[in-house]
């Protein structure tokens, strides 16, 4: 059939059930994204005869004879592969100017929708954009884009020192034009597609898999079962030290430990054939008893998730006091019992944090092939290309240099991609078939079979004297790590650390347990355990302040650590965390005064109760025990620099700041820095983009390399008659010397000049976040409306204010989702029932308030150029700040997230009735 795409006629032969999105991508229009594949997220939005539609819902055959415009053709006619039409459509330019994106995966659909709005719709974006989801930005930058408000500074405006300036993302023009190539945005000849049959049972042993019918399906090339995989066990969780996570996972296992675990994989010449192959597999299961609740799992006689009898051999997971215990942490400083005896007031309660999904709009997936040298190449949506490379080499018995892992542009991560969830199977299939193989997870798989935040029950007990001084803190934490132990130990340790390390208190005790159950695995998630424990501790601090008649800010000021105080959580072991800078006092003051100064919004009606709340968070700027990065930078004759860094970018803006840092050290502009990153061929090693290390570790390596290169340029100029190196000054076009200008070509006449830098992630500093909310709560329905949101952050010297603000806006928005709406529901048979965005509500435009972002004025002595991390931590104080505001408004102390109307209305009504509250 014939249709017109972006002004040109194209011939297409869609399958009967194919959607327009797939057909357009097959025609080469990779700007049309597959986000939810169900009409909920809008990433696939195109114009059909001028009307915006979700192309994942439109049967492709209905486009016959019609005119389709994709993001690439919004500015004018263009053809596939041309990089999008120029000049840009005004809405594309507006998104560029406001940097209305972070990872950029939702951006084509967002722009296609925004460009089709009339004035009335633009006046009500909450309604007009309800079919477009963005997980990164929190929508503030999108609102600015649609309103034509610029957020970026031009690079040429920032030549003196690009650091501290709002330099736009280097990939921006590609993102708004639809030409940024995400993981799957490439055509691979001879490609095979992989699909996975998943377990219907929470706990079972596979007795038999009959693959004959599957192999008979036309197009099916191979079927893989547990008989075909390496014997070795690994953890999907990726850490610098692989021993951090129990090796309890096989590529395909004969024991199934959660509903959704891989049973078998089918590769075929099309996704349809691979799907049909999975459906044709016959599997006999021996169904076993399962346990879903962590407390039950720790009882004697409970079904074992990892039964030693199932896995004889040396590499069985280490055993703790109960076989279902994945990790534990215990420690006490001082004398907690004596501390509580001294207290005038004690608050004790249990706080529950639920399972939430990262919901990055690009699902997990990888494309693998062999390169011309026969190396295994995996292009993956990952935060940890190097650690994944190492794991693949180890698993398949290959030399490290026989494996290359690289990223395309990564469509969001939030910790979810600090896992090896697809690469192992793709590698297996490539090695077995010798053909390129792609596996792109569906959104349903993303919800049912990847990872989530660890659900936690935190029992907190805190005592204080009449004047507010804390006397003792005790935490009892139980996390549900699900069927596998990826990040079980890391999360329980981190979750029990900074949360109480920030408080000066002589007596502290922690007991933490990470427990295996027959549910989908938990994993790394923004905040890495802290969001759950901070919900408990900051709620408890609020109750104590109320009970003692103290202002909640004052309660914190009296108890927080200050430079010079030891930072102690549950042990007196020496550590490498220092006060590189300290801005918590400023953050508390900034939020307190901003909340005072904000004009109280009008109360919607007498049925709504208004209240204020705050909470704070501390985070170590780098994960413990080493986080490594390498950078290499080389001068080009034209005055540009090639910078190779290992770290991955998944929308966090790291690459922009790396270019700023390099440009600053070399006195040039960031657009002269050509950056390559996220590729194991680029440098020797990089731990990866997790733990908010993009600036503080990769940036440190970049700074060292760039400073070293600047010194080399000075020396080279001096050798060419410029006097002493210290008198030579590199700049945009060459090197100034006492005897005149020396051009870069001459500097390079003696050969290439390249320098490297390394960072090892130690010592570490601390960053701080304080969140304040004013909310209105409906006294009967339980609806919560956020009237005001203020967030102060101590990020050290802010190297890119626009991006840092974007990280905070996005982190607050994601946390609002987790605090008010989101919950992965698991039924009584262990099945995840929230499998789509319409049943798992992540914040849309209407759900997120504008957050006033304020920065403390500090300069870190440890981080590069004074900077600290600021990616995960804005998430952490949000839930307790909301809980405390709801408590203030209604009298109800909520101890379980999310605070959805149906879960809180009874508590609210009861509290309002009891206190006959303010009307």
């Amino acid at each position: 059939m014939i249709l017109h795409v972006n002004g040109h006629e194209q011939d297409a032969s869609p399958l009967p059930g194919q959607c327009l999105r797939t057909m357009l991508r097959e025609l080469g229009w990779f700007g049309v994204k597959k986000g939810c594949d169900a009409g909920d997220c809008g990433a696939c939005t195109v114009h059909l005869d001028g009307e915006p539609v979700h192309s994942c819902l439109l049967p492709a055959f209905r486009s016959e004879g019609r005119s389709v415009t994709t993001i690439e053709g919004l500015g004018g006619p263009c053809r596939p592969g041309e990089g999008g039409a120029q000049p840009l459509h005004p809405m594309q330019a507006a998104f560029l100017g406001a940097q209305g994106y972070q990872c950029g995966f939702c951006t084509p659909g967002m722009i296609m929708t925004a460009s089709a709005l009339d004035q009335g719709q633009i006046g009500d974006l909450a309604t007009a954009l309800k079919g477009n989801l963005c997980r990164c930005t929190g929508y503030g930058a999108i609102a600015d884009a649609v309103a034509g408000v610029a957020r970026v500074e031009r690079p040429e405006d920032a030549r003196d020192d690009p650091c501290g300036r709002s330099i736009p993302a280097l990939a921006g023009p590609r993102i708004v034009s639809g030409s940024a190539a995400f993981t799957f945005d490439l055509a691979v000849p001879d490609l095979l597609h992989l699909k996975v049959l998943r377990s219907p049972h929470a706990h079972a042993r596979i007795l038999r898999i009959d693959r004959a019918d599957a192999l008979a399906v036309p197009g099916v090339v191979a079927v893989f079962t547990h008989d075909d995989v390496p014997a070795g066990r690994f953890s999907t969780g990726r850490h610098e030290n692989p021993l951090d996570d129990a090796p309890d996972t096989r590529v395909l296992d004969s024991i199934l430990r959660f509903v959704g675990q891989r049973v078998a994989a089918v590769v075929a010449t099309s996704e349809a054939a691979a799907e049909a192959g999975c459906a044709a597999l016959t599997v006999d299961y021996e169904i076993r008893d399962a346990v879903f609740d962590p407390d039950e799992a720790l009882r004697a006689g409970s079904p074992l998730v990892h039964d030693g009898a199932d896995q004889p051999g040396d590499d069985a997971p280490p055993r703790l006091s109960h076989p279902n215990l994945a990790a534990e942490v215990h420690g006490e400083v001082g004398d907690v019992a004596a501390g509580f005896a001294e207290a005038d007031l004690i608050h004790e309660a249990a706080y529950d944090s639920q399972r939430v999904q990262h919901a990055h709009l690009e699902t997990h997936g990888a494309v693998g092939w062999r390169d011309e040298d026969g190396r295994l190449v995996i292009r993956s949506s990952t935060q940890t290309p190097f650690l994944t490379r190492d794991a693949l080499a180890n698993l398949f018995g290959l030399e490290r240099d026989a494996v290359r892992v690289l990223c395309g542009r990564v469509g969001g991560g939030f910790g979810g991609k600090q896992e090896m969830l697809t690469e192992d199977l793709v590698a297996l299939a490539v090695l077995a078939t010798d053909r390129p193989v792609k596996w792109e997870m569906t959104r349903q798989e993303q919800f049912t079979a990847t990872t989530t935040r660890h659900p936690m029950r935190v029992r907190v007990k805190i005592g204080a004297r009449q004047d507010g001084t804390l006397t003792a803190i005790a935490l009892h934490v139980v996390s549900n790590t699900g069927a596998y132990g990826n990040h079980a130990g890391g999360v329980i340790h981190h979750g029990c650390n900074e949360v109480i390390g920030v408080y000066r208190c002589p007596n502290k005790r922690v007991d933490g347990y990470a427990v295996y159950t027959h549910t989908l695995p938990s994993g790394a998630f923004r905040g890495y355990g802290l969001s759950q424990t901070i919900f408990a501790v900051e709620s408890a601090m609020d109750e104590l302040a109320r009970g003692l008649g103290l202002d909640p800010f004052e309660m914190r000021r009296r108890n927080v650590v200050r430079p010079g105080d030891p930072m102690v959580s549950n042990s007196l072991e020496p550590h490498d965390v220092e006060y590189g800078s300290y801005g918590l006092d400023q953050c508390l003051d900034l939020v307190a005064s901003a909340m005072d100064e904000l004009m109280p919004a009008e109360t919607p009606s007498a049925d709504w109760l208004v209240g204020e709340g705050m909470a704070m968070a501390m985070i170590d700027t780098i994960p413990p025990r080493g986080h490594f990065s390498e950078a290499r930078i080389a001068l080009q004759a034209d005055g540009r620099y090639h910078l190779d860094v290992g770290t991955a970018e998944f929308g966090n803006g790291t690459t922009t700041v790396l270019a700023q840092i390099a440009a600053s050290a070399l006195s040039t502009s960031p657009d002269r820095i050509a950056l390559r990153h996220g590729d194991t061929d680029g440098v020797g090693h990089d731990t990866g983009a997790y733990g908010s290390t993009g600036i503080v570790v990769a940036g440190q390596a970049t700074l060292k390399a760039a400073l070293s290169l600047a010194q080399a340029l000075r020396e080279a100029a001096a050798e060419r008659g410029g006097g002493a190196p210290s008198e030579c000054r590199p700049h945009q076009d060459g090197v100034s010397t006492s005897s005149g200008e020396i051009g870069f070509a001459e500097i390079l006449s003696g050969g290439a000049i390249e320098r490297a830098g390394k960072a090892d992630g130690s010592p570490r500093s601390v960053a701080f976040n304080v969140q304040g909310f004013r909310v209105a709560v409906h006294r009967s329905s339980g609806e919560v409306r956020i009237l005001d949101s203020v967030h102060a952050a101590d990020a050290g010297r802010v190297l890119n204010p626009m991006q840092c603000r974007g990280q905070i806006e996005g982190g607050v928005a994601q946390a609002i989702g987790a605090a008010l709406y989101e919950a992965i529901r698991v039924d009584d048979r262990g099945r995840v029932i929230t499998q789509t965005f319409r049943n798992y509500h992540i914040p849309a435009f209407a759900d997120v308030p504008r957050t006033h972002v304020l920065f403390a004025d500090t300069y870190d002595g440890i981080g590069p150029l004074g900077a600290k991390s600021m990616s995960e931590s804005p998430f952490n104080p949000v839930a307790p700040a909301l809980a405390n505001a709801i408590r203030d408004a209604t009298g109800a102390r909520l101890t379980s997230t999310p605070f959805a109307p149906d879960r809180i209305y009874l508590a609210v009504m009861e509290a309002v009735g009891q206190c006959d509250g303010p009307v």
Partner: protein
């Protein structure tokens, strides 16, 4: 999403082309639900858009909506000034979880036949005493009240091969005043309760309860009841087991909101009549 099990699509031009229904067939209207979930049991789609049904027709008898009328077409309807119920149309369109982009594709009939409790077209048709014209596979047709078509969540009285052709809204219903209330767990979320009150010029009051219950309910009162009578009536009509339970609201909250919103509607009319 791609429906890879679909082997064929038929394009009927008239009613006789609709015969030959077989297992694995699905009527394709807007496709906004069909293409939003895996449909492994389906083999063939019958595309209703090729039938060219006129989307809507107003007459002295009322308003007829073709099953294939899109939400966007419904939203843009220009209704006679004497039809007091007109605001309800836009209110129900906006109550759809899907955005205005979905409105361009989704259909009134599709929304009804999917039979989700939150379906705003079911609420509209119930409040306006809609009658559904159903074509049966033997070439005949039958009329059924909307409250007899939608039986439970994702369950209708349509037999295999039957097709919803049209929804007729009688003139009398369109001339009633209306009051609309909706609540959901998030500001633009799927309805947890959607209630509509209608007040006839004769003084008769009717309350439509949807979204909170597993099927739509309409209760009629000769005059506007007082609060106690209304509450008692709901208690009697809606047993606890009829409240819907899914991730968009617990049954107890839906029940609570049903009573709350019903009373708000009652008071709205009461205040209007006092004014």
């Amino acid at each position: 999403m791609d429906l890879n099990s679909i082997g064929a699509v038929t394009m009927p031009r008239n009613r006789s082309d609709l015969s030959g229904w077989r297992d694995g067939d699905a009527w394709l209207a807007g496709g906004t639900w069909l293409f939003s979930e895996p449909q492994p049991r389906l083999r063939r789609l019958v595309d209703l858009s090729s039938l060219g049904w006129k989307p809507h027709e107003a007459s002295e008898r009322g308003l007829s909506l073709a099953a294939t009328c899109t939400i966007a077409e419904l939203f843009r309807l220009d209704l006679p000034a004497s039809w007091s119920a007109a605001p309800l149309f836009a209110q129900c369109c906006r109550a759809l979880l899907g955005s205005f982009k979905i409105w361009n594709m989704a259909t009134v009939g599709g929304n009804i036949c999917l039979a989700l409790p939150a379906a705003p077209m079911i609420a509209l048709a119930t409040a306006l005493e809609g009658t559904c014209l159903v074509w049966t596979p033997d070439g005949a047709e039958r009329e059924v009240a909307i409250t007899d078509l939608v039986l439970a969540s994702q369950c209708t009285s349509l037999a295999p091969g039957e097709i919803l052709r049209r929804i007729d809204l009688p003139l009398a219903a369109l001339k009633r005043r209306t009051a609309f209330r909706q609540v959901s767990l998030s500001p633009n979320g799927r309805s947890g309760a959607l209630l509509i009150g209608t007040l006839d010029p004769s003084g008769a009051f009717a309350l439509t309860i949807t979204a909170s219950t597993r099927r739509p309910l309409r209760q009629v009162f000769p005059t506007l009841p007082d609060a106690a009578v209304l509450a008692d009536s709901i208690t009697e009509a809606v047993p606890a087991t009829l409240y819907h339970d899914d991730v968009h609201g617990t049954p107890d909250w839906r029940r609570h909101m049903t009573f709350t919103l019903a009373e708000e509607i009652r008071r709205e009319f009461e205040n209007e009549s006092r004014a």
